[in-house]
């Protein structure tokens, strides 16, 4: 396994191991996520990449029976450290899910402001925040005249961009995306990729994807996860995206990125 040498590690996982009950599902994951870069996590289903991304904002611990060892450092501080409130971690490290999940009882505008209300923070200049967030997720022009309509009146692709905007409204330092385009059509996928490119200028992004082309289009570095024959998942190869796809070191990486298995 190769380690990428990076100037500034914004987010770092150190020897992350994960268990569900007695089952060891992830072993010794050491990854470094540099500031304002996009990192793609790829690998076949069941290799633990979605599990791993959930350890990065402490969503993992909401699953009953979940266990963890190791550390996740944000700007050098362990997010699992003593006295660290998981709620504060999730405010700094936002998340977008596989299936668009806007709150069905809320309007488009209320969805954008929902994070602030949920975390009990004061909403000042709400209109401005709504507009900036929607603009950054490049959905403003489509919804600006219907901000008070229910969020579920939007199409699937629009709902997903709304969910991105909802996360951006919290001004997170890191955005985690768990297969954000897997339920979307190619047009919506392309627009979300453009959004990723734009917002990565100001935040660190980690994206899980099953789409090889997507990984190559949006990311600067890629980690390949694999779980072999009942062993826990682990990182087989980690490096610059171009290297992982064009000059992979491990033969298993080569097989996977060329579609020979998975």
């Amino acid at each position: 396994m190769t380690q990428l040498i990076t100037p500034q590690a914004h987010l770092r996982s150190e020897d992350i191991n994960v268990w569900f009950g007695e089952r060891h599902v992830l072993s010794d994951v050491n990854l470094t996520f540099p500031e304002n870069q996009v990192t793609a996590l790829i690998g076949p289903s069941g290799c633990g990449k979605s599990t791993f991304i959930r350890t990065l904002n402490r969503m993992h611990e909401l699953i009953p029976g979940a266990g963890l060892s190791g550390a996740v450092l944000l700007d050098g501080q362990d997010i699992y450290g003593d006295g660290v409130n998981p709620v504060d971690v999730r405010i700094k490290i936002g998340m977008v899910f596989q299936k668009p999940n806007p709150f069905p009882t809320m309007s488009i505008k209320e969805n954008i402001l929902s994070g602030l209300k949920l975390s009990g923070r004061k909403v000042t200049n709400a209109d401005e925040l709504v507009e900036t967030s929607l603009r950054r997720a490049s959905i403003w022009n489509e919804v600006k005249d219907r901000l008070n309509e229910p969020a579920i009146s939007l199409s699937g692709g629009q709902q997903q961009r709304l969910c991105i905007a909802r996360s951006l409204a919290m001004e997170p330092q890191v955005l985690l995306m768990d297969e954000p385009c897997s339920a979307l059509d190619p047009g919506s996928t392309r627009r979300i990729e453009e959004t990723i490119e734009e917002i990565s200028e100001s935040m660190t992004i980690v994206i899980v994807t099953h789409n090889m082309q997507q990984a190559q289009r949006v990311s600067q570095q890629t980690a390949f996860f694999l779980a072999e024959d009942g062993n826990p998942g682990t990182v087989v190869e980690f490096g610059a995206t171009e290297d992982v796809f064009n000059r992979p070191i491990d033969p298993r990486t080569n097989d996977y990125v060329n579609g020979h298995f998975g």
Binding site: N57, F103, S119, P150
Partner: protein, 323 residues
């Protein structure tokens, strides 16, 4: 040249009814049973109406708006407004007390408790639903009433300046306050079970989204879970309300029925309940009085039916995203 018109397309016959013998028998039995339940409800209503007619005819609209029941005159006067009002008051009281309990229980079972504990709690709540009304009535009379009287006195002592808790007679037993608690105990299971069902069907991704946005346990509950589940909870509540209106024996044990209407003095020993009144008077009623009791039954029947329709309507309307 004559214009040739294309003949209208001929529709084919499509098979919509079952063709196999076994399917036909099954179809016949299920539709028959379904219609029979409707017929039964209509027949009950017709029977009640026929028996109740003399009272309705004689009392007119006064039967439900008046407040006098007097068998010392001929023909006797039968007006049930205090009972109708009392039934509704008890149902509302019961719902106000039961809904927070039921939501808390459902939340505990679905989201907080480890599986074995959740299973035990579910079992206990379902067991509560299976207790016969008369058992709850006896418990209410001998065990609960003395305790609840203490609560009523406490409320009166500290909040007596509120009209709700004023008590001029000094008698705190057999009051709507106590009966309301008994109703609550009896409808908690149904509301809990509906709410639990709604919670369990909730998209876990919504809860995860709320948590990922920095939601705490409390804010996730009040801002996401509760609003999303509200339609179902209202439906369950109205089902409970329907049941509360018909509650008979248990209330008979713990409430002093009075035609001197009690608007909102919850701790006074006067109250009303149509079902309990029917139970109390049926034993030694004359033929004419009996028709009055049947008429009271019709009123209760229709009130309950209206509430059930309302429940269905609200549940459908309150969750547009389910369509």
């Amino acid at each position: 040249m004559p214009v040739e018109t294309k003949p209208a397309p001929q529709r084919r016959r499509l098979t919509v009814k079952p063709t196999l013998l076994g399917d036909r028998i099954f179809f016949g039995i299920t539709t028959g049973t379904a219609y029979f339940s409707i017929v039964l409800v209509v027949l009950v209503l017709i029977f009640l109406m026929i028996r109740a007619w003399p009272a309705f005819q004689h009392e007119g609209i006064g039967f439900i708006t008046g407040s006098k029941w007097d068998d010392s005159v001929q023909p006797m006067i039968m007006q049930i407004f205090p009972m109708l009002y009392g039934s509704i008051l008890l149902a509302i009281l019961g719902v106000i007390l039961a809904v927070p309990m039921a939501i808390a229980l459902a939340y505990l079972i679905e989201f907080l408790a480890p599986k074995p504990i959740a299973r035990v709690v579910t079992l206990l709540v379902d067991l509560l639903a299976a207790l016969p009304s008369v058992v709850i009535g006896l418990w209410g009379l001998f065990v609960f009433s003395p305790v609840a009287e203490g609560w009523a006195k406490l409320l009166n002592h500290y909040l007596g300046w509120l009209p709700l808790f004023a008590n001029t007679s000094g008698n705190f037993s057999r009051s709507p306050f106590i009966a309301g608690w008994i109703v609550a105990v009896m409808i908690v299971p149904i509301i809990t079970s509906v709410t639990r069902e709604i919670f369990s069907q909730m998209d876990r991704d919504l809860i995860n989204a709320a948590k990922a946005l920095g939601g705490s346990m409390a804010s996730t509950f009040t801002k996401v879970i509760l609003p999303t589940a509200s339609g179902g909870i209202v439906g369950g509540t109205l089902l409970g309300l329907g049941r509360a209106l018909g509650e008979t024996v248990a209330i008979f044990f713990v409430l002093n029925l009075s035609f001197d209407i009690n608007w909102a003095d919850l701790t006074e020993a006067r109250g009303g309940s149509i079902a309990s009144m029917i139970l109390g008077k049926l034993g030694n009623a004359s033929d004419y009085e009996r028709s009055g009791l049947m008429a009271a039954g019709v009123v209760l029947f229709i009130t309950t039916l209206l509430i059930n329709f309302l429940a269905g309507y609200i549940v459908n309307r309150a969750q547009p995203w389910r369509k």
